[in-house]
């Protein structure tokens, strides 16, 4: 019997795959959560100091990965929503969403982790590097709080780990000698982590290579999807709200406002968006919020036009007039009477808008006007890789191809939805 693969099958598959691959880590995280809750009841004020963003991030993804499969299996509504046939574009979007939600589970590394640059810098994809671990000085665990701290240190990946040493090669004699780019170092055997009497040498795989600071490209790609999707959705929500309110004002509030708004729309439309964005970001500084707001502001015109034409057709319909005569407030009118009608023609535009915004964000990051160096972003990765174009192709090709694939699949989904709603158009 042949089963048609639907989107929710694929979503479930990804979730289960992550759970199976990260089972031990999830167990540790659950322990951590338990300890946090425990110490929260014992001594509340110190717990908050320990909770950094990455801890919260890890715990949220733990909670999500437990609840999401249950939700998908139990709720019929979600399954119906995701009941379309799986295709390439859908699966790319699913993978992106998974990267967005479960970035700390997909890679067990901090995106800025760097150590021993001389060994790890500019490694090609699929290269693996050996490393040794130095024993920690055993500390006695005294109170509950230091237990929490040491647990957090153990479980949550950090951007630096002094006990981990990447090596090119090693010689085991009376003492342990290792080489980092032809420089010899010596260390006592007793200081190293051992298995059955010998120093333990593990190896780490750089799946998509490493950049000029020895950071793992795969990890940065996974975390970079967060910036793209946050900016994409955030900016689209901003422009959706702007376009809808302006359109409502233009339709409901008389001729003068309508005229002014139409002229302003002309102005925005007759202006190369990227210059506007660049000017505003140059003047007001760039961080993630300003980028979301600016990109949202630069994209509301098309939504305004669509929403306005739809509202003009609703305006004289009887159900709308009666709702107005009953005395509904403007916000309720907008939410209850207009939004449900308008959302379908607008949704196609929204999806294309997300693609545009993701493209604009990466272009801004490429120009160095993006969200800064605090978070990895695909555009910024390409910009950094440009300097090493002669020696390491993967630094521009991998983020570039990931960006291209995401944009293509978002546009493809937009076209599919468009075809679904107006089959006559194609």
């Amino acid at each position: 019997m042949f089963i048609k693969i639907k989107i929710w099958h694929f979503a479930l598959f990804i979730l289960l795959l992550i759970i199976i691959l990260r089972l031990s880590f999830l167990y540790e995280l659950m322990n951590l959560l338990f300890v946090i809750i425990q110490s929260f009841f014992i001594k509340s004020e110190n717990v908050f100091a320990q909770l950094s963003i990455s801890v919260i991030d890890n715990i949220i993804s733990l909670l999500l990965i437990i609840t999401l499969p249950i939700l998908i299996i139990s709720s019929k509504k979600i399954r119906q929503l995701l009941s379309h046939k799986l295709n390439l574009a859908n699966s790319v979007l699913m993978l992106l969403t998974a990267c967005f939600l479960f970035a700390p589970l997909i890679t067990r590394q901090h995106p800025d982790f760097q150590k021993d640059i001389s060994v790890t810098k500019l490694l090609p994809p699929f290269s693996s590097v050996s490393y040794i671990e130095i024993k920690e000085d055993s500390k006695t665990i005294e109170s509950n709080n230091s237990k929490l701290k040491s647990m957090i240190d153990d479980v949550i990946p950090k951007s630096y780990n002094e006990n981990l040493v990447f090596i090119d090669s090693a010689v085991v004699g009376s003492s342990f000698k290792y080489y980092q780019s032809e420089v010899e170092y010596e260390i006592e055997k007793n200081k190293l982590v051992k298995t059955s009497g010998y120093p333990k040498i593990k190896s780490k795989l750089f799946l998509l290579g490493s950049d000029e600071f020895g950071r793992d490209v795969f990890t940065r790609i996974v975390y970079g999807s967060r910036i793209s999707l946050i900016v994409g959705f955030g900016a689209v929500v901003v422009s959706f709200i702007l376009g809808l309110t302006f359109a409502f004002a233009a339709v409901e509030r008389g001729k003068v406002i309508n005229l002014v708004l139409s002229r302003v729309t002309d102005l925005f439309l007759s202006f190369p968006t990227i210059f506007l964005v660049v000017l505003i970001i140059a003047l007001f500084g760039s961080n993630i919020f300003s980028i979301i707001i600016v990109l949202g502001f630069s994209g509301w015109m098309s939504l305004f036009k669509i929403a306005k034409s739809e509202m003009l057709s609703i305006k004289n319909k009887e159900y709308y007039l009666s709702a107005k005569l009953v005395g509904l407030k403007n916000t309720k009118l907008l939410m209850r009477e207009i939004l449900p009608v308008i959302i379908i023609p607008v949704s196609v535009n929204l999806i294309f808008q997300i693609g545009n915004v993701i493209l604009a964000e990466s272009a801004l990051s490429y120009l160095g006007l993006g969200t800064g160096t605090e978070y990895p972003s695909w555009g910024a990765m390409i910009e950094a890789g440009q300097q090493y174009i002669t020696q390491s192709w993967w630094l521009i090709f991998i983020p570039g191809i990931v960006l291209i694939i995401s944009l293509l699949s978002i546009n493809e989904i937009g076209r599919n939805i468009n075809q679904h709603f107006n089959p006559a158009a194609n």
Binding site: V264, S270, L279, A282, I382, T390, I396, F397, L407
Partner: protein, 328 residues
């Protein structure tokens, strides 16, 4: 009819002037609202209070906002954008050279886009329904959504780094004094091939897609069938009936595209470090050179408005229906 014609033209020009004023106002508001006092750069704590006040006065910041606005508008329309902080020259003289490059570069790219888009669409129209038609239509969708800077870098990697055919950046080789005129032109062309491809592929895809879709929809209309039945040749039908009807919507797209190009192709110019308006703007931003940034943004917007106006005037000339649309 003649009266309508002039009325439409005046109406269109007035609306352009209005939009231009809105643009200037918008830039003024942005510059004023921006955090940070522009005089701070010039006033050190060691300066005597009298002198500091004098500096503030020289910026005109002690005047009320509306008179600042009036002088801002006046300066912009007389072409006086102030002094560039970085170049220590009037902004106008700085922008002039860069603008000339952008004008030539983007005009060539625009012509390439139009010609290539047109000939590809014509070719695909002649082979409609066949494999090559479907291939082109899919490729155009893909090409349209490819990010410019990634494509540019991939081209640089393939053709400059691996195959070593084209240079990576700049517009000419450094030692060009002993080159003859023809060698000089060849040198420029060699430098500009990759930027030209990067700048033109997306526009070509857009022109192709629009023209091809229009050709297809006109092709399906009844009058073409009737013409065919009357025994007109395919060539005559294409030239006299299909193309004039299909090219109409392309004109407004072309206007927008040309306006964007004249504003400077930011990303392409940055990738290949070409001396155009786009890179000038980006560099001005990094140098915090606000008079220059303001001027560049204004010129980009101005070019856009002018080319939109020009396209609409062409449309008025070509299509009587458009006049009615404008007047109402």
């Amino acid at each position: 009819m003649k009266k309508d014609f002039y009325r439409a033209i005046t109406k269109r020009i007035t609306s352009s002037i209005l939009v231009l004023f809105l643009l200037v106002t918008f830039i003024f508001l942005l510059v004023r609202l921006a955090p940070g006092d522009p005089t701070q750069k010039y006033i050190s704590p060691k300066l005597s209070p009298q002198l500091a006040e004098k500096v503030t006065k020289s910026f005109g910041l002690d005047q009320p906002v509306y008179s600042q606005y009036i002088s801002f508008v006046k300066n912009i329309f007389t072409g006086d954008f102030g002094f560039s902080y970085n170049y220590r020259k009037p902004v106008f003289t700085v922008v002039k050279d860069y603008f000339l490059f952008t004008l030539i570069f983007s005009s060539i790219s625009f012509i390439i886009q139009l010609l290539l888009g047109y000939s590809l669409a014509k070719y695909a129209y002649n082979k409609r329904g066949k494999f090559i038609d479907k291939l082109f239509s899919n490729l155009s969708i893909i090409a349209f959504s490819l990010p410019t800077f990634v494509v540019g870098l991939i081209l640089v990697y393939i053709f400059s780094v691996k195959l070593n055919i084209f240079p990576t950046s700049g517009v000419n080789t450094i030692f060009r004094d002993n080159l003859s005129f023809i060698e000089n032109i060849f040198d420029h062309a060699l430098h500009l091939i990759l930027p030209m491809i990067t700048l033109s592929y997306a526009g070509t895809a857009v022109f192709y897609k629009y023209l091809k879709d229009n050709l297809d929809s006109v092709e399906n209309s009844a009058f073409i069938t009737s013409l065919r039945a009357n025994g007109f040749t395919e060539k005559e039908i294409f030239k006299n009936h299909l193309l004039p009807n299909a090219i109409q919507p392309l004109i407004s797209i072309a206007g927008i595209e040309f306006g964007v190009l004249l504003g400077g192709a930011l990303l392409t110019e940055v990738i290949f470090s070409l001396p155009g308006m786009g890179r000038l703007t980006v560099n001005a931003i990094f140098n915090r050179d606000f008079p220059l940034v303001t001027a560049c943004t204004f010129i980009a917007g101005f070019m856009m408005i002018i080319s939109n106006l020009a396209t609409d005037l062409i449309k008025i000339k070509m299509d009587k229906r458009f006049i009615k649309e404008l007047i109402n």
